[in-house]
Structures are given as C-alpha cells and as structure tokens.
Symmetry: C2
Subunit: 325 residues, 2 copies
C-alpha cells in the first residue's frame, strides 16, 4: 500500500508538503495541491487516520450516548445522526447508557482516550456532573443536560397542548394524563401543556406517573381503567405507554376509539403498525438528530453556533385511536 | 494529565518498561508490574489509545454494519453486540448500509483506515466482493457472506418448520407463506421449512414473495386476501410482514385468530405490543449478537475459533394470533 513518501515522490513535493495538505494547515500552491491530489488518486493512497489524529488530536468519531437503542425512539434518532455524520465524513460510536451514570462516565472516559471528536448525548439523568469537564464539544439531544451545553429538543409544552386539545375536540370528558418521570424536563413540560389545554375546560382530569416502559405502562393502565371506568380519554407522554394502554384497553374489552380515545407522544414508526393506528404528537425525530449532528460538527470544526438552543416543532398525526364527531 | 514518563518515574522503572506493560509484550517482573499498576492508579493515568494503536496497529473499535437500525430486528442485535463488546473493553461503530454495496465499501474503507479491530456484518447483498480482501477479522451475523467468513445464524429451516407445523396443529387449511427475497439464504431456508411442514399434508398452500418492508407487506396482504378470501393461515418470513398482515386483515374486517391465523418469524419486541399479540418463531437475537461478538473478539485477540459456523435454535412463542382448538 502506498505511504506518504510515495505520494510525495509521485507529486514531486516534500513529505512535509503532503502533510500540510492532509492536515489542511499552512500555505500550498495550487500546483502542489493539484499534484498531490493526482498522486493520491493514482496511488490509491489512504492517509493513515490514526497517525494523523496524533498530530491534530482529533479523529472523525462522534460518540452517541442513548439510554437504550431498543427503545423505539432511539433507532430513528441514531439513524438521523449517522446519516448526517457520514455526509460530513464522521462515523458514530454507539453507547447504551441504561441511564446509569457510571456507565455514561465509563463510555466518556473510554472514548475521550480515543480522541473522539465530540458527543451527542440523550440522558435522562437528573444530575450529570460527569459532563462538566469534558474537553470535547457536546450537544444534548431531546433533553437539556445543563445551561452551558447546546441542546436540540422538541417544544414539549406546545406539543402536549396540541395533543390534549385534539382529545377535547374529539369529545373526551374524563381524561387521564400518563406522564413521564417527575423531574425530567421533557416530562414536566408535557404535563404543563396538558394542564394548559384542560384548565378552565369542562372536563375531569387526573395525572398519573408512568415510566417509559411498555410493561409498567400496561400495569398502570389496567389499574387506572379498573379504578376509574369512566375514563374516556388518555393522553400519554410517550408512544410506548400509549400503545401499552391501547393493548390493555382492547384486552379489557374497551372499544378504541368508541369508548376510549388515546393520544400518544413521539411519532415512532410503531404507531402506524398497531390497529387502530395511534393518533400522536409526532416529534420530528429525524430533524432533531440531523440538527444536533450539524451543530456538533460545527463546534468540532471551530465554527461558532448561531443558536445554542434549537427547538423543533411537533406535529399532530391523526390516526385511528381518536374519533372526530 | 499524567503521561507515560510520569508513570515511569512514579513506578521507578524506565519508559520502555511501562510501554512493555501497556502493550503486553516482553518480560516484566512481578514487582515492576505491581509498581506500574500502582503508579497508573495513583496518577489516574489514561494511556493514549491512539498513540498505542499506532504501534499495535489496532484499536478497540468494532464496526457493526447493519442494513438499517430502524428495522426492529437490528436495535436488539446492536444492543447485544454492544453489551458484549463493552464487557471486553471494545466499543461499537454503528454503520447503516441500506443494503447498498457502495455504502458498505465506503464504511469498510473509512473504518479500516482507523485501524478498526474487526467487523460484525449483517448484509442482504447477494454478492459482496468487498469483503474478500479485508485485513481484519469479520463475523457474519444472521446470514452468511461467503464460505470463509465465520457466521452466526438461526436454524431457519427448523424454525420455519416449527412455526408452520403449529399453524397446521391449530387447524389452518389454506395457508400462504409470505417469503422474503428470493436468493437470500435465510429467506430460502424459511421457505424450505414451510414446504417440509406442509408437504403431504391435506392443506392448500401458496408462496408469495414479500420484502422485509411494512408498507409493501401491507399492500401484498391486501391483494392476497382479496384474491384468495379462503386463506385462513399466514406464515410470514418476518415479524414486520406478519404485523403488516395483521393490521390489514383487521382493517378488512377479518377476525384474527378466528377467521385468520398468523405466525411471524423473528421474535422482536414489537410482537408483544400489538393486539392480539403475535405468535412467532423467535430467534434468540440477543444470543446471536453476543455469540458473534465473542467470536470476533477471539479472532482479534488471536485465539482460534473452535466452531466457525454457529447455529442458534429458534423457539415458538405462542400469543394471540393463533388458536389451538
């Protein structure tokens, strides 16, 4: 395989000139550039990235930390991050944190040793001191880490208000909000939107905490529907809990949407696979992943960010779990 | 931050000795080892992985190439690969190939430049010459690439026979097999199992090709059920197509499982989220991912493989889309 000396010889320049070309620093004449490009093509030379990263202290790896790739929200996010990264010559190291601070820290340590160029992080941890002294850029995705780290997220208050208002329009009178973990910003915001939409309206409401887990959401729904059979509307803070509620309601003989209407939040593909299809507040997951990746690459490449906190609008998708009279 | 000289000084040994320790080559006295370990701990020294990979020509990165992480089978596989890799000190670079040979090749080139230690590959491509001259170990997951690359896969013939036989036991008399792409080994094997189970039995059968896509499977199911209303059983070659069939059948007013029974193949989490839950031939996805990762790490670390081709059994999971009389 050709090495840097072969390229220099073929191009008729010094090794130092080729090195300047590869590292994009220092002056180069147009002729020299052209000759080097020709030599690289002719010799099928692949610059040794590891050696180069030693001098630039940077590779084109991006660490993507998610709670669990098997939660249906994250593959769609990972896909957007990877597509965008690849288009800019970066690749993605996938890390499942299981919302465990020690595991997040282990990954950060392992990856900064490898001169990872930056991190995109989705964490549910309420305290994350291990993000405070990282030497590479970070972008927080879907939920803020702290006030200094740039963030891409959905307008959760607005989205939840939109979804709840639609339930009201469809005639629901007795609505339960299955909210996410208390203290988690996005979950708190979605409750805020729910309360904004229902306050002052002629409806009964209750708010029940429910983690983003299918199995636990099944149990909680069963309990709610047994204790409060008058419930005719569910606003769920995630599609996973909405789909769990749909399944349990159907198993208990409740007709969806005739007896009970359900609106989810997220917009994962799963929502269109169930019967009836799930009406949901869809986050623009792909756009969020792509925006976060572009922001991170800007930071890595030393461009300044025009906006540190990007909010992406959510959109109502009406399917079969609601009925407009 | 401490560097290798600080460690050598603190341990009272030469830099070369610390280097031998870090690279695990050459003789070291037990005393020296102990002193170096103490020094590393005391100074919180993190060996510079990039510099080290230059001498050993190896990092602890593993490339994981999948067709598309948003297909529900792959997050579960990726999760198993990552868990197992992390336990051995490796991290995962995630690559979506979109079953596009050029994109696979681009990733392989980018990652071998970074001295990735090996690849785990799931590809649907029937021809994959770009895997022939890779200098690092590869393990093929879920489907074979060629006869020289070690493979972890499900016993697809046996699994498909198991699923089809269960449909027969449940009384289905007019069965369609929605098979995967012709020429793809695992899809061909599943048809083989279907035919083994139905041959000589008093049932009508037909085999229809259907890619692993939810939307196309919906269209194909609609066509089948309109043209052949007598169909009372579907054996689908993937859970995605089985769930598409379930959704379409319900929308067309067919009662599942009373009028129509459905058995899928894969065992993704999605199968338990739909109503009724999907009866399916479950691959042991986690075990497959974990086995492939262990095999790859053995190859990377120069241990010989006892078995080059590992077959993992599939298991029938009975849920609500079938009815045993």
């Amino acid at each position: 395989m050709a090495n840097i000396k072969d390229v220099a010889k073929h191009a008729g320049v010094s090794v130092a000139t080729v090195s300047r070309f590869l590292n994009k620093n220092g002056y180069l004449s147009d002729d020299a550039k052209e000759n080097i490009e020709e030599a690289i093509a002719a010799l099928n030379y692949r610059p040794n990235q590891v050696a180069r990263s030693l001098s630039t202290k940077q590779t084109n790896l991006i660490g993507l930390i998610v709670p669990d790739i098997t939660n249906p929200f994250f593959p769609e996010l990972a896909r957007a991050v990877e597509d965008t990264a690849l288009a800019h010559g970066y690749t993605i190291v996938l890390c499942n944190s299981d919302e465990n601070a020690e595991k997040e820290e282990l990954y950060i340590n392992m990856l900064t040793q490898k001169y990872v160029a930056g991190f995109i992080v989705t964490t549910n941890l309420l305290k994350a001191p291990h993000y405070e002294d990282i030497s590479v850029p970070i972008v927080a995705l879907d939920r803020a880490i702290n006030s200094t780290i740039p963030t891409v997220s959905t307008d959760n208050v607005e989205g939840a208000r939109l979804g709840t208002e639609y339930l009201l329009t469809c005639g629901a009178k007795n609505i339960v909000c299955m909210r996410g973990p208390v203290g988690l910003g996005l979950a708190d915001d979605r409750v805020k939107g729910f309360l904004q939409a229902t306050s002052g309206e002629d409806v009964e409401t209750q708010v029940v905490e429910c983690p983003f887990s299918f199995e636990i959401a099944e149990k909680i729904t069963e309990k709610i529907l047994l204790e409060s059979p008058e419930i005719d509307g569910i606003f769920a803070s995630s599609d996973t809990s909405a789909i769990a509620a749909l399944k349990v309601a159907q198993a208990m003989g409740r007709k969806v949407p005739n007896d009970l209407q359900i609106v989810g939040f997220d917009g994962v593909q799963l929502g269109k696979m169930v019967s009836p299809g799930l009406t949901t507040v869809a986050q623009n997951i792909y756009k969020m992943g792509a925006s976060a990746t572009k922001m991170l690459i800007k930071m890595i490449e030393d461009d300044s960010l025009q906006e540190k906190n990007v909010t992406v609008s959510a959109e109502l998708i009406v399917r079969g779990t609601t009925r407009k009279d």
